[in-house]
Symmetry: C2
């Protein structure tokens, strides 16, 4: 059961919340609880079935892994995001192996998957909400994969650099490779090209963006 102050997450995130009966609301509240994961936890390999997961704070990286250990980030779950893909245990037809790792200490609200499933079957608004969530996530995943498949790495790397809020990134080339589903050597080669063009200054575990303008021109 979640605390009274945590109900705000349901009120804000569930479009159907106000339409539920008092009893239905209570059922959701009783069947939910908060959990805290430390940094670096592999949530996806937990033996526990989480079902619907609301992020109170922290950050979870959602990514694919190849047999050879290559990775590709799909998206990040942050405050007020809802995760549904941990729900594989309740949807046996969902045969994808997607990894979820906490990037920071992460506090979540998890709902008992059987309870959510029951509500979904009894209330078509909950069912629609669930479908919307799933479609949204799948759209994001497919878009990310499409980009990784069809957009050249050089372009994806520049887009990634332009998306960063800071001018100085404390990140290894290995981490960028993992994020973009590439190999470290390929990232190194591409970063060197950008450095030679005067866009960046690359040093060990650090990348300094010298000119966003120049970076943008490299996209043409």
């Amino acid at each position: 059961m979640i605390k009274k102050e945590d109900r705000i997450y349901f009120e804000k995130l569930f479009p159907f919340w106000e339409k539920l009966t008092h009893q239905e609301k209570n059922y959701f509240i009783i069947n939910s609880r908060t959990m805290t994961f430390t940094k670096g936890v592999d949530i996806s390999s937990s033996p526990e079935c989480f079902g619907l997961t609301i992020i109170k704070n922290g950050k979870i990286r959602v990514f694919l892994t190849s047999k050879e250990g290559k990775e590709l980030s799909l998206f990040f779950l942050e405050t007020m995001d809802i995760g549904v893909l941990t729900a594989q245990c309740i949807y046996p037809k969902l045969q994808v192996s997607i990894n979820l790792h906490t990037e920071e200490v992460t506090e979540v609200i998890v709902m008992n998957p059987e309870a959510f499933s029951l509500m979904r079957k009894r209330n078509s608004e909950v069912s629609d909400f669930n479908m919307d969530l799933i479609y949204t996530r799948f759209s994001e995943i497919i878009e990310q994969m499409e980009t990784a498949l069809f957009v050249p790495l050089s372009v994806r790397l520049i887009r990634y650099l332009l998306k960063q809020e800071k001018k100085e990134l404390i990140i290894t080339q290995e981490e960028i490779a993992r994020h973009l589903g590439s190999a470290r050597e390929v990232i190194t080669r591409n970063l060197k090209l950008l450095q030679n063009a005067g866009c960046l200054q690359v040093s060990r575990g650090k990348i300094q963006i010298l000119s966003e303008e120049k970076l943008k021109t490299m996209l043409d």
Copy 2:
């Protein structure tokens, strides 16, 4: 409305069929119809909303396209398969652009999307069936994309060749490239390597598989 003999598709493909009332069955039947597409039709770009689509006979290729026109086959819909991804018009949250082209003359049963949606909301068995279908399809799509992302083209090409029923394939290298999300030059280079290894005999618009055994050893 579909003909009496076409009800067999519903009976065989809908696990919930026998649990429906007479009235519900009738509602499905009245709101469905058969359609025939000629070969080479782009169903996905049709202005009409199809919703659930059952393939009576024929073959539909489901694939992704990049802005630059690169393609990647996701799966094929054949007799007794059910398509759900044409349903973008009823699920606005599904923001993926997946192409469906008929590879042969294809006869389908399509259900009015609003009617199916209504049944899904009223009957949790229909809703579960719909979810299962969507999860299955998405799992297939993600698996295909994962393979294209993480498995080297040389390996995917050999797997593709081994999957063929015939020893002599009447197919252009351009078609294989489109199927595997690659470029023709890359396919040509890889086919040459396999020919030099004595696995194949490649000629214009035709590939003859000389030894499946040798092909398999190339996977190691």
